[in-house]
Amino acid sequence: MRDDDLGALLSEDLNALAAKFEDDSFARKLKYRIESRKRVRAGVLGVVGVLGAGIAAAQFNRLFESASQSTLLDGLALQGSGFSSAVMASLIIATAVIATAIVLQREG
């Protein structure tokens, strides 16, 4: 028996065995298991996010009013930004929300 024949025999056997494993549920189950940690993390983040959003929504009016009355924003508005302090407060809050969404999307 030549080396090539032996190699072909071994390779043929291994490929035939691998073909049986090719389409079974192993890869799918493994992916599910790998993603399970992420799902738990996403669930926790979701619950915490909903709680945080609820609290933030309850405080939004007060937050908006205090930001609108901020002397810093008044100062910036007076320095020629072209926006009223109320609009600047809205922009800052919107920026914070968008930044949080981007971070969460990357984490997810």
């Binding site: 080396d3 032996l6 071994l10 056997d13 065995l17 298991r33 790998i34």
Partner: protein
């Protein structure tokens, strides 16, 4: 054109993209499991070893530096897992060996498309020769990849492959058990396919 293994590894590392890793799993799991079945001669624990190896690979993907091919890195993890599992199962193996000595053919009941001759010959090779031969001749690794996977010097892997081939040829060419004995193969109690 599909992404290469290295592209997928970098994608998985940079973006924590599970789909990229899942594609790597899809590409390599079948040959990895087939290699482990032929290496161990027993498929019972192979899926557990393969699963553990792939989960470890997923967790350690950030440590993959690209010095070797992804598949040799993956097979190295699996080989280490196999050795650890083997140590844990040492007592059970000794019992199986004793049963084989007494003429009881042990081993898996399925995945036995391989001829008994080939299976028995493989099982009689020392582990490093069997692993080297399977990686180089069956899986299609280069000697360098096999050396990386087995964490062994390149020269050792080359000589293990050569010795493994010689022994396999001798065992598979032996027409009778008596001839097989002459090349140092224990044949007592083994049922040959011929």
């Amino acid at each position: 054109m599909g992404k290469s293994d290295i592209d997928l590894v970098y994608l998985a590392k940079a973006t924590h993209d599970d789909d990229a890793f899942a594609e790597l799993v899809r590409r390599h799991q079948a040959k990895l499991r087939a290699f482990l079945v032929r290496l161990s001669g027993d498929h019972a624990s192979v899926d557990d070893i393969a699963q553990l190896s792939l989960i470890k690979a997923h967790r350690a993907i950030a440590d993959f530096r690209g010095g070797a091919s992804f598949r040799s890195w993956l097979f190295a993890i699996a080989y280490r897992e196999f050795l650890q599992q083997k140590r844990r199962d040492d007592a059970v193996t000794r019992i199986s060996a004793a049963a084989a000595e007494n003429g009881i053919q042990t081993g898996p009941a399925s995945f036995d498309d391989i001829s008994l001759d080939l299976k028995n010959a493989l099982s009689r090779l020392p582990e490093n020769e069997r692993a080297s031969l399977l990686l180089c001749d069956a899986v299609g690794f280069t000697h360098a990849e096999a050396a990386a996977a087995l964490s062994a010097p390149l020269g050792s892997v080359k000589s293990w492959v050569l010795r493994g081939r010689e022994k396999m040829r001798a065992m598979l060419s032996a027409p009778t058990n008596e001839n097989a004995d002459s090349v140092g193969v224990k044949t007592s109690g083994v049922i040959y396919a011929r």
